[in-house]
């Protein structure tokens, strides 16, 4: 049956029974919708008692297990194909390299997660965020070239002009590159692309193709 429709400002439920997901807001201990769309309630997945939690790069306390409330959210699927999404910290994004400077690579963020962005957001990849290993020996022009399509992860909101991105894991990096001669290249190793016609290798920070 069609999910219930939510108008901004519509009461969804007491905040003691639900957790606020995207598209909702809390006002005086009640949950209200803040976006026009359909309501979806997500039950928290049954948490089997996890083994020793894999050591995260950052020591973060274990979430206590007492809060098992369903999260309620309002999604705009179907309203209009143009869904306005803002790159959030932690999202994996696809972007195109627009400018290369010795101290940073400027990129235009095109796709966040799986939604194609309509607005153009600018991102920056700093040399120390290109690789997880040997961070100080990274040369930008050996990792990216203008026109490459890069898969990166947002690591911070950055400054007033651009987000800060990183390609510091194996499956992040250049996924499509065009060679000097201008034809599409294919990856040969974790740091080289080869031009099929001229056979010349060019250095890139290659994303592990899956």
């Amino acid at each position: 049956m069609a999910q219930t429709i939510a108008i901004p400002g519509q009461l969804l439920g007491p905040s003691s029974k639900y957790v606020a997901g995207p598209g909702t807001h809390i006002h005086e201990a009640n949950l209200y919708s803040s976006v026009l769309g359909t309501v979806t309630v997500v039950q928290p997945e049954k948490k089997n008692v996890p083994g020793p939690a894999k050591r995260l790069t950052k020591i973060a306390g274990l979430p206590s297990s007492s809060a098992q409330l369903p999260t309620i959210s309002v999604s705009r699927t179907g309203i209009s194909e143009k869904r306005e999404v803002l790159p959030e910290v932690g999202n994996v994004v696809l972007c195109r390299v627009t400018r290369i400077q010795p101290r940073q690579a400027t990129v235009a963020i095109l796709v966040v997660g799986d939604t194609v962005l309509e607005a153009e957001w600018q991102g920056v990849i700093r040399p120390q965020d290109v690789r997880a290993t040997e961070k100080d020996k990274v040369k930008i022009y050996e990792s990216f070239r203008p026109g490459d399509i890069v898969r990166a992860q947002v690591i911070s909101l950055g400054d007033q002009a651009s987000y800060y991105l990183a390609t510091a894991s194996n499956d992040l990096g250049v996924i499509m590159a065009t060679s000097e001669a201008g034809n599409v290249m294919y990856p040969v190793s974790w740091k080289e692309y080869r031009d099929p016609e001229t056979g010349i290798n060019e250095n890139r920070k290659v994303a592990k193709p899956f």
């Binding site: 803040s34 309509e118 002009a161």
Partner: protein
Amino acid sequence: MADRRRINGPVGATTPPIFDKPAAPAAAKTRDAIRKIFLKTGITPSASGSAYLELENPNPKRPGNTSLKLSCTVHGPRALPRSAPFSPHIILTTHVKYAPFATRQRRGYLRDSSERDLGVHLETALRGAIIADRWPKSGVDIIVTVVEGDQDRDSPESQKDDEGWDMMNVLSGCITVASAAIADAGIDCVDTVAGGVAALVCKDDKTAPTIVMDPIVAEHGSILAACCVAYLPTRDEITNMWFKGRLPGADMMVYDKLMEKSLVACRCANRVIVQELNETVRKGQGIS
């Protein structure tokens, strides 16, 4: 010596031609409801959100029976220009622009001070509703174009209304149409905002003044005072209020009654918004 090439007009002032006597306005039936509103969202594909609003003219004398036409487009949330300082919340900019043909007095293409004033009112009304810190470092532009102002074309020139009461009707229309357009654009809002106007009118100085909702300027003898309110119905809060005019005494009674009446007008307008938004979602579900 006069410039020979230029043919100068007659020296003294001449009076313009006088057309036939316009028919006197029909006796306004006491209307205790707001004018019918037509609201449609998603009319401009290129904008991320848009809406179109029309107010029906209860006693039409001209072919088109509307007295107010507004079109609103929302562009955003989009990246801020490089020079803008860092802002942890969305930067809201509103523009209200009259089309040159919208009012009896033709307006130019540059925004004059009254339009900028309406823009500031609209910004205050909407900023209360928008949850700003959901969209850090981004900006949204809300542009409302007044296609037809709420001015009666037939009232004789001598009653030329220069008090600006029609601006309040235009502002309440702008608030309603902008709120629908923002919801259409998917910008997080605490509630839908509805605009409403109530006025203290009196036929002539004998009869006691009465309070009327959604006043038509030409219909009433003279308007003593009016107020335009932007209202959040579910939260029961007012984000913008603009009162102007002269109340007979200093007693707050008349002032409070005027305000309550305008809130009733807001609730009626809000019903139209809710119905239209439901419509768009239902239509959206139909497709997907």
